[in-house]
Symmetry: C2
Subunit: 695 residues, 2 copies
């Protein structure tokens, strides 16, 4: 990978002297950005460009070229790659489009490309992307002209599935004083993908912050393992989240939609900051360009009272604590006021304190206080009169912030041109609205908090499972329609995997009903077992509150009469009935990209309507499961609300571990639902469930 | 009010030739903005400024001055006002601070000011504000220098409680091509407040959009009646929503916090667009600067595939429908593609269609389609090469949008300087991110939809109420501690106001227990009635499921034994027990600013935790109550989910009408809770409740 970003020589394939030729732009960009190496050009027609000869024959090229860039029609790309390989070039950037994202024929071309590369140890970027930039050595390969003055050097590396998005982020970064280290437009990512680039960037000394724009994530587990391995902040803008965007995404970068709930859960679990808009993405990058915010204690200093009120509202929303000032400190400030029309406090309204240089004294004193973790400074100023002093203020704020290792989010409010002027004069990010400044401080605080958070303990010891039972049931059931197991099979599997169950037994004939004995006790529930009855209750296949033998006989006869002739009828399952305690649902499924995912949710009709669920990726531990509980809006109920006691967590842990282990041990299991799981303060048991097999 | 904004002559009081004098800025601003009238100056020391004499004696001033502006220390303001009054001036703008927002002494000064003004028919703006601007006649009175070039003329009028915020909005408007009509910094609004200004602006021909920034709303009902009377869009940024901001807000503009839930409900009910950030406020203003979006059908056109994907995500989130293109139309577009590497659809990725002028042809055809209500156009361009063509594109987009009366949100992505350059060259708003463009279109669609919405029907006829019963109970209870009525009194009041109740009766002695008769029937519930037992169930004061006379005797004895000696014990209330159906809570309270407010929520512990409630301001009608139902997350349950039937709406209407009427008829009632209200598909009844009296 290093050769990709640090080649000594680059060959651009697809250059001609025609005016609209895009290959020329690549060469021009290399020169504009001061590429520290040699440039070679190749095209179908001989010629010259910027003092370089356009070669038409590989034999005239040197044999020590590190990197080739191809921008020729899709149908010709494989030949170009082969020619490169013969020349000893194994690192290639393919910018051409017209592959998998366009048509079946294109997909075929791409497949051939991938297999040739794989067979010959070639690594390539693209196709269908605008390639890569290494801002620190002048390697700038996009096929559109870029200006070095507008792309600052810095610590943000961008990995993007869309070239246009990557360029927008580059521009937004630049106009927000955020410099770039590496830029990667992955295109169809048919050879190298985000996980490969991440593996490289985590050790790249120039990269401090990693920003991703993705339209799909093909191997979520691999990506997450890369994220887990880096200690640099990772920000993800994941789009293509709706039915209406999937078609355009597929024709844009051949992306397939992910389950967005799973993506969200993965981000939460692995500490990825997920951005939903450009604004949020850049704001998160900004937050990491300031020192970290190591606590909740915030001071708001404001040249306008209204801006201070607005800032205090947002501070409250993000859980910041506006620490009170000492009497001594407020007296000190008051003594400098002009008309004595302001009461100083936190937020501090600077009122008629017009001396901008005095603000520095205040800020210095504020930052020195050990109970202050960061500052939001609202600076309203008049461009013409106060531009110079404001620049001094901004520069000193940066200096103080670095000196005390505390973030100061500087929000400025002035004319648009003065904002841009000031931005160009400094090298750290500014904010233009209190909500953005405080949001950035919150991101920073959350990141710092996560760094401190204890790592999960050792993984829990697995239960005492009987795999043979499960294997036997699965083998027996492989011919089932739609892969849905019968309820008794499901419960047998749950029992084999150590889940706590109510006593149950499947009956095939009325004669055996007399055998009801411990552990099966009245009152009983009778459930019809038939594969085609997926919603037993709605179909009337369940009888509750059976108190004695005669009621049992009656219920059995009724159910048999109604369902006994179903083709896939299997029997009547009797189960000891328990009073409903706290009802939960637990589930697991196999995500195409992220593998096993488990779900925890509040049970019952309300919870279904409130969509109150939490997802996590195994392996699980108590810390993760407790996180899931905290995420639920129903958490207070689970922890014990209104004098009720909470749930028995060991039982919940046990059920979730068992469910995750089932998914891990039996790849043929596609989905498991435990619904409901009853939990009291001292125990709990699985009442019903569903298992679906699949490929 | 008209004299305030259209004076023929203005007197500025507080001008001196000292360099730091702020009164001079007022005079300078009047000249800078080309005030169409005469300027007079007044100060303590004689002198001249900008060719005007600084008068030191009112006798040398003419007696036909329309408006005075005062910027002198607080203690001298009343004298200045009196002098103005003697001169015949009854319209005054007071910019000085140091009143109620600062101290008790200041509050006293302000009180005197208000009573003098009231007694003498004087209307004044402020104090403690930066005054007013009428952009259309050059009346520009703020005490800081402003530049006419940076404040465009237009249709937005700003009414702000904070001067700093108003200036920021002015600047943001200007840099987003939003011109201003009137600007009002209200300060402490001790004479004229937002409702007064709104009453004026609704008929002001220059005002198309009204933007409010408020830190408190003292008379919510009055404000809402003004909003209801205008057919111009009203956007409200209401801050001071948290405990942490209330102190600074009070010292900034003497603002008291409102109940933010009530403010939200009032905005929803009266169609006020509430903004939480600068960005959102300006974005909403932008949306009203385009033609209205009259439906859900959106077309996204994008020069970059990634931007198209992101736009489609947001479109989906806001409920827009991306209408498919006809085959004919896509063929037409395809025929213009260069490399045939893009499949055209909606979103339309323009791909390698580089001819900006051809975009116009596409857009024209798209806007002509009757099934298209609006367009989002993502225009990514290179500043140097495509600036000219992009300007042409922008101007034509505006023209087409006006011609077809359909909004086109133009999002541009290019260098920051090029964005600003383009903004200065056009006179309509641009967007810089798909989320903002689509949010603006959604605001516009929602406004258009509301305009179409049928007005509420005639107010429902009130029930057949027995007011005397309620009056008697209230009189009897006026000595109650904390104003909480006994349960039997509450139920008697509910019955007198026509609420459907379960049969109930209060028993004072065991001997009368034998009298249990229709309508009271077993099973019964027994509830202890004692003022001090506010949570009867938690305290063990409720017995459920009493099936017969002997169980009744036992429950009665137990409850008497345990609670009978409480000082405020009143008896045991027996009530027919019903099975719980759908449980709801209904409540009402008197808000200090907005008056009576009613609340509807899902009942039970889950709903309490999920905080699923909706608020509305009476008078109620079926349309409003149905809106409340729709707002609840539990709406599907109320409408009938999972094969269950929904609730009996007539009963719900009846309970809510009755509750609102109680609040309206008896101002001494501070709060009413009906909890729970049981509802089935065919009936419903109030089970328990609480009424609190107060001043």
């Amino acid at each position: 990978m290093d050769r990709l970003f640090h080649p000594c020589s680059v060959l651009v394939i697809g250059v001609s002297s025609r005016p609209e030729n895009l290959g020329k732009n690549i060469a021009s960009n290399l020169i504009e950005f001061g590429f520290e190496g040699e440039i070679h050009l190749f095209g179908r027609q001989p010629g010259y460009f910027l003092g370089h000869r356009i070669h038409t024959d590989f034999s005239s090229l040197p044999d020590d070229i590190d990197l080739a860039v191809i921008l020729t029609p899709a149908a010709t790309v494989l030949d170009a790659v082969k020619a490169c390989f013969r020349q000893g070039i194994t690192r290639i950037v393919i910018e051409s489009g017209g592959f998998r994202e366009l048509s079946a024929a294109g997909a075929e071309l791409e497949k051939e490309l991938v297999s040739f590369a794989r067979a010959n140890g070639i690594k390539f970027v693209g196709p269908n992307g605008i390639s890569i930039i290494n801002r620190h050595n002048g390697l700038c390969l996009p096929f559109m002209r870029l200006s070095a003055a507008e792309i600052k050097k810095g610590g943000l590396s961008l990995v993007s599935q869309s070239g246009g998005m990557a360029l927008t982020y580059l521009g937004l970064g630049s106009s927000n004083n955020i410099g770039v280290a590496k830029f990667i437009s992955m295109g169809n990512k048919s050879c190298l993908d985000e996980s490969d680039y991440l593996a490289y960037l985590k050790d790249d000394p120039q990269t401090d912050i990693i920003g991703l724009y993705l339209e799909d994530i093909q191997d979520g587990r691999r990506l997450l393992s890369r994220v887990a391995a880096t200690n640099k902040p990772v920000i993800l803008h994941k789009s293509n989240t709706s039915a209406q965007s999937s078609e355009i995404a597929s024709s844009h970068t051949a992306a397939l939609a992910n389950d967005d709930q799973v993506v969200d859960a993965a981000c939460q679990q692995y500490g990825i900051f997920r951005a939903k808009t450009f604004r949020q993405f850049i704001n998160q990058v900004k937050s990491f360009s300031l020192p970290l915010m190591k606590g909740d204690n915030l001071v708001v200093i404001s040249r306008s009272g209204g801006h201070a009120v607005v800032a205090a509202d947002v501070a409250d929303e993000y859980g910041f604590n506006l620490v009170p000032f000492s009497r001594e400190f407020t007296d000190f400030i008051t003594s400098h006021f002009r008309a004595q029309v302001i009461k100083p406090g936190n937020p501090l309204d600077l009122g008629d304190l017009f001396d901008i240089d005095f603000y520095i004294t205040i800020l210095d004193q504020v930052l020195q206080r050990p109970d202050v973790d960061g500052v939001l400074f609202n600076h309203v100023f008049q461009p013409d009169l106060e531009g110079e002093a404001s620049l001094r203020l901004a520069l000193t704020i940066d200096e103080l912030s670095q000196r005390y290792h505390k973030p100061v989010a500087l929000c400025i409010f002035t004319g648009a041109q003065a904002v841009n002027r000031l931005k160009r004069q400094i090298s750290f990010p500014l904010f233009t609205e209190p909500a953005e400044g405080i949001e950035a401080l919150a991101v920073s605080r959350d990141y710092a908090r996560r760094q401190e958070k204890a790592m999960p303990e050792d993984l829990p010891v697995r239960g005492n499972y009987d795999r043979q039972v499960v294997t036997a049931i699965i083998e027996e059931s492989e011919t089932l329609q739609e892969g849905v197991l019968y309820l008794d099979q499901v419960l047998d599997i749950f029992r084999a995997y150590d889940m706590p169950l109510l006593p149950y037994r499947l009956f095939f004939s009325a004669s055996s009903l007399a055998e009801i004995a411990e552990p099966l006790t009245f009152p009983l529930v009778a459930k019809v077992v038939a594969g085609s009855l997926s919603h037993k209750s709605d179909a009337g296949g369940v009888r509750l509150g059976i108190e004695n033998q005669s009621q049992l006989q009656q219920a059995y006869d009724e159910l048999m009469g109604r369902f006994g002739l179903l083709a896939d009828f299997r029997g009547i399952l009797l189960q000891t009935q328990e009073k409903s305690l706290i009802e939960m649902i637990v589930g697991g499924r196999r995500d195409e990209s992220f593998g096993p995912v488990v779900m925890l949710g509040m049970g019952g009709i309300y919870a279904e309507i409130f969509q109150d669920v939490a997802l996590r990726l195994p392996p699980l531990d108590e810390v993760l499961i407790n996180d899931m509980i905290e995420i639920l809006k129903g958490a207070p109920i689970l922890k014990g609300a209104r004098g009720q006691s909470g749930i028995h967590r060991p039982t919940l842990y046990r059920v979730l571990y068992s469910l995750a282990d089932l998914l891990a041990d039996f790849p043929v299991i596609k989905q498991i639902d435990v619904n409901p799981l009853f939990l009291s303060e001292s125990a709990g048991f699985v009442v019903d469930g569903r298992i679906m097999l699949g490929k």
